[in-house]
Symmetry: C2
Subunit: 398 residues, 2 copies
């Protein structure tokens, strides 16, 4: 968890009872920042203010984050109140307001606990530290229904990468890859590697967003999701060429994938993670099938109970909206068994398929059977659906 020039803090500001609920990431030097925001047309005031600040500056100094309130749809003064928080943070840190970004997560429509936040900013700043414990406190302060703080780190000769994220429900990133309007969840991807803004945009567009775009817990895309990709470029002064960015790509990919798995396994009520591999169709078609399967209550409950009801998966292919799909060319594997051959049963005994489905990581492969020039493969992750998910979300607010 080594990283140069960043400090962290996580405290209890009384938004939640006895839990860390207010966090701060602080960069000792002005840092480049590239963000990705939710596509949901309902937007948190925190996103609105962060977007306004990013229009004014390429360099930022800190990100303040609260949990327990989404700062969304919480009254007419939402944006003004949010801006005020940033102004106070800026003044106390001796930086300008636009260098302060903000993120929130929690219940939509709850009034923003502005006073609680304002009266705890001194405490928040005085707790800033670069220790492992401070990083952990920050990671805890942004949790909602998350059971565990989520941190992934990688140290390379040319610098360090640290990724902190939260998210367990209302998770279904659906991204449009343009530089300022892609969407995803609350992720803080920090690095001290010396990168240009263009290089950061390239890594964000080619690796970070597509990776966080490829999983869904419950199909509900949140109005608060944000990726903050921040580099303070402190590790060395050598700017490296495009080839070096290509060399970095696998490391960023690994970090993002590891984080996605952490988010999946800590999803609300999750007991199993499903890897969908969809081959021999266009990416658009694969995404349609992945979205249909990952939001099918029948598939998710069957996975939960290890019920070898593969017909539900085949049915999802049929209703996915993929044009010109020939169901008689579809082949499906669950684990090592081919359960569907040419669109119909391959008569594998249920007991064998069930064994594969009893694992906590279930692999489902679907060959869509289009005769394309190139073999294609698209991967998407999802989860099962348990009674625990219903329990958590039927009394989230009450």
């Amino acid at each position: 968890m080594k990283i140069k020039g960043f400090k962290f803090s996580g405290i209890n500001a009384g938004i939640k009872k006895n839990k860390l609920d207010l966090g701060l990431i602080y960069s000792e030097q002005p840092a480049l920042c590239v963000c990705a925001f939710t596509k949901n047309l309902l937007k948190s005031n925190s996103i609105i203010v962060t977007q306004q600040h990013l229009k004014k500056t390429n360099y930022i100094r800190c990100i303040i984050v609260n949990s327990g309130c989404a700062n969304t749809a919480c009254g007419k003064n939402g944006v003004v109140d949010t801006e005020q928080i940033c102004t106070v943070v800026a003044r106390k840190l001796g930086i300008s307001t636009e260098e302060v970004l903000i993120a929130s997560t929690g219940v939509i429509g709850e009034p923003l606990p502005k006073q609680k936040i304002l009266s705890n900013i001194d405490n928040l700043i005085s707790n800033l530290s670069s220790t492992k414990n401070a990083i952990l406190n920050f990671a805890k302060s942004i949790m909602t229904t998350d059971r565990k703080p989520k941190i992934v780190a990688q140290s390379l000769p040319i610098g360090n990468i640290l990724c902190i994220a939260k998210g367990a429900g209302m998770i279904a990133p659906e991204l449009s890859v343009d530089n300022h309007r892609y969407a995803t969840m609350l992720v803080f991807l920090l690095t001290d590697i010396n990168l240009s803004k263009q290089e950061m945009i390239k890594i964000m567009g080619e690796i970070v967003v597509p990776t966080f775009n490829s999983f869904s817990i419950d199909g509900d895309t949140s109005p608060n999701d944000t990726i903050f990709f921040v580099s303070n470029c402190l590790h060395n002064n050598v700017k490296f060429d495009a080839d070096k960015v290509q060399l970095l790509m696998p490391y960023f990919k690994k970090i993002c994938q590891d984080m996605v798995l952490k988010l999946l396994y800590d999803g609300e009520g999750v007991t199993k993670v499903v890897k969908l591999i969809i081959t021999n169709c266009t990416k658009t078609d694969a995404q349609k099938i992945a979205k249909t399967i990952s939001s099918s209550l029948l598939v998710k409950t069957a996975v939960h109970g290890a019920d070898p009801n593969w017909g539900r998966i085949l049915s999802c292919c049929g209703r996915s909206g993929v044009e010109k799909l020939n169901i008689n060319k579809v082949n499906i594997w669950i684990g090592k068994y081919q359960v569907v051959k040419n669109g119909t049963s391959n008569f594998v005994p249920d007991s064998l398929v069930r064994k594969e489905m009893l694992k906590s990581f279930v692999e489902i492969k679907i060959d869509v059977g289009f005769n394309l020039k190139k073999k294609t493969e698209y991967t998407f992750f999802t989860t099962d659906l348990s009674k625990k998910y219903v329990e958590i979300n039927s009394k989230y607010k009450t």
Copy 2:
């Protein structure tokens, strides 16, 4: 439950243990039949054979239905086996094979229990009767996870209408209104009113399909769904003009709506029914919002727990894909309380909203706020999501 010229039968053929599982509807005279089939590209062999028969004839004599096996994706000989069942039924009834239609419901991919069906056809036919009990037995024989048989009837001076249906899970009719390719679930809409085929197509397209198109239990559109609309025209010989069809429309609408409510309340694990009323946007946009809300796990679980978490509904509007939606013009009511005013909280106390949500029938109204020439209103029904649903569907097959 009066209807002229139809006989019914429901028996146990050993497909399921100690439950009625094989049914027959028989028309004493050749009857006109208009059907609507699932849009799912995966299709039951029963649908494939029924479609083949309807291409050859305008008049049918019977519909044989089994539960316990979907007759879908169950091996290469599926269509041949299904046709053989129809041939045997036809021979024993002294009619031609294409006058026999067939429907199935149950697990996808299970082998068709052909021998059990064939060896019970004599028994099935000998049980045919026009008594109330026979109708009830038929309605029971087509049940799967349904808790209750579903029958709605209406007697008019010009004839009788009888609707029998099944369906509790894998229910999300999504219809395309062209005469031979709309989609829905297993519905038998029988009448002895003297109608022409054109009149039947008109009633089907304008009333029956749109009504069954406007609800969803779990978002999973089945490969087996069918509406059979059958008229033996026995009630009188007077063909009536278009105005009379218009007079009939409200009766058909009432019957279909009543049946939709029966299906909703008997949905798998359902404890609450939600009526969504979406105003001031195009029908296409309203359908996008309705689909998003009705398949949102977060909304469905909040409704289940009467959790006044209306932010989830507003968030669904934001991610529904409605173009040019101005979230600041969206207004939302739960029961009698306006919870969202101009896209943000209207600060109604949670305790009041919760009271509305504790009812078994929850009304949610969304004004999308588009400034159209005409006021518009679109209605869609859905259900909550309970632990019971998860329980039923995590061990459906095992």
